[in-house]
């Protein structure tokens, strides 16, 4: 699968015990990089202050991503680590479920309700604009569909889900994934700068990054780079977007089947359940339990800390799987379409957030 050029491969062997053992070196590498990021956050500032240097306070999130980027792009990731490094999405999902303990159900319904309304508008706007852009640039129709889904819903997962449903080829999905990953990496550095320049509050910024950044890991990281509260909101908004994946993929599957270029969808309810991200249900369950005080205050704090550790591994993985050399090989046109689309979607979603602030008096 050409996806391996931009995303780390998932190793599959017949022996589950062997598969598990193969994960250990990479998971340890994620933990080591994440923890190094945490140590750097604590100590670099102190060292600079002690030597009377002016040095910005860099959060562990950015340190972990930067260390991962340096290793991936300068040294490369040896084969022994690859399977374990690819587990960063697993830690992301576990972290999101545990983050549910920090949301009371009322907050989820209120903020999730606002998010849902904005997500609905964002998805329609993003798909319409990306489809127009893909046609204007003369991209292959299925590549345009993949880029539209990747930008509108949830990045790489959405592209992989849609690829199977519309029977797109490996090359198209490779292009789309490369474009989405490259733009996600760019968003990590640009979004916090824009947020600070516009003096966005934590809630507005978190909502914006959850709506506009495509991949869940990058959206969580872009939010956490701003503040802890913004990170929470970014994950909530992004999770709401993720919950829409089944509907969008189903719509595309029906569209391409009607044109005779993909298999017809049989049981639509089963299709939706298959594509639905189950971690959203886990997040809601933990949130309900926290709301009804199934956990006491110390236990909520422990679960929140566990969620932070899981995100730490994710952020290290975001840096490690971003390889600029491999991305360059994928060509310029899909990237250009993605970049123009992302800039417009970022502006559009920012306007939505300002609108929500105005109407809901945040």
């Amino acid at each position: 699968m050409s996806q391996s050029a931009v995303a780390l491969p998932q190793l599959r062997t017949a022996n589950p015990a062997l598969s598990f053992l193969r994960l250990i070196p990479g998971v340890l590498l994620l933990a080591a990089i994440g923890y190094a990021g945490k140590l750097l956050e604590q100590n670099v500032g102190k060292y600079a202050k002690a030597h009377h240097w002016t040095f910005p306070n860099i959060e562990y999130v950015l340190w972990a991503i930067l260390l991962g980027l340096i290793i991936s792009n300068v040294v490369g990731i040896p084969e022994i680590f690859r399977a374990g490094v690819a587990t960063y999405e697993f830690w992301l999902k576990a972290g999101i479920v545990l983050l549910g303990s920090r949301f009371l159900l009322g907050d989820v319904l209120k903020l999730g309700g606002v998010s849902l309304a904005l997500v609905f508008i964002e998805i329609i706007g993003a798909i319409a604009f990306m489809t127009f852009l893909g046609r204007a640039f003369g991209l292959r129709p299925k590549l345009t569909s993949l880029l539209a889904v990747g930008s509108a819903v949830c990045g790489v997962s959405a592209i992989i889900a849609t690829k199977g449903a519309i029977e797109a080829d490996d090359e198209d999905s490779g292009f789309a994934i490369a474009a989405i990953l490259a733009l996600g990496a760019l968003a990590l550095f640009t979004f916090p700068l824009i947020g600070h320049a516009l003096h966005l509050g934590d809630r507005a910024y978190g909502l914006w990054s959850g709506l506009a950044v495509d991949n869940t890991a990058e959206a969580a990281a872009a939010g956490a780079l701003y503040s802890d509260a913004a990170g929470k909101l970014a994950v909530l908004a992004k999770t709401t977007r993720n919950a829409m994946i089944g509907f969008v993929v189903l719509a595309y599957a029906i569209y391409w089947a009607s044109r005779g270029q993909a298999q017809a969808v049989g049981n639509k309810a089963a299709f939706l359940w298959q594509k639905f991200p189950k971690f959203v249900l886990g997040f809601l369950l933990i949130s309900v339990l926290a709301t009804y005080q199934f956990f006491n205050r110390e236990q909520v704090a422990a679960l929140a800390n566990l969620s932070r550790w899981a995100f730490l591994l994710t952020f290290a993985g975001v840096g490690l799987r971003t390889n600029f050399r491999e991305m360059r090989k994928q060509g310029l046109r899909p990237f250009a379409v993605g970049a123009i689309g992302e800039v417009v979607i970022a502006g559009f979603t920012l306007a939505l957030v300002y609108g929500a602030q105005y109407f809901f008096h945040w």
């Binding site: 017949a14 830690w91 110390e298």
Partner: protein, 43 residues
């Protein structure tokens, strides 16, 4: 060879998806914290 492949494929089908495992592990951790097996997780 084909039997081995089929057995492995069947075993994989029985296992949870990535999402399923993430939810399972997170809920297990929550249960361990709730029952007091794990009392404190530092940050």
């Amino acid at each position: 060879m084909s039997t081995l492949t089929n057995t492995a494929a069947a075993a994989r089908r029985r296992l949870l998806s990535l999402d399923g495992w993430a939810v399972f592990l997170a809920l297990l951790a929550a249960l361990l914290v709730r029952t007091g097996v794990v009392k404190h997780i530092p940050w």
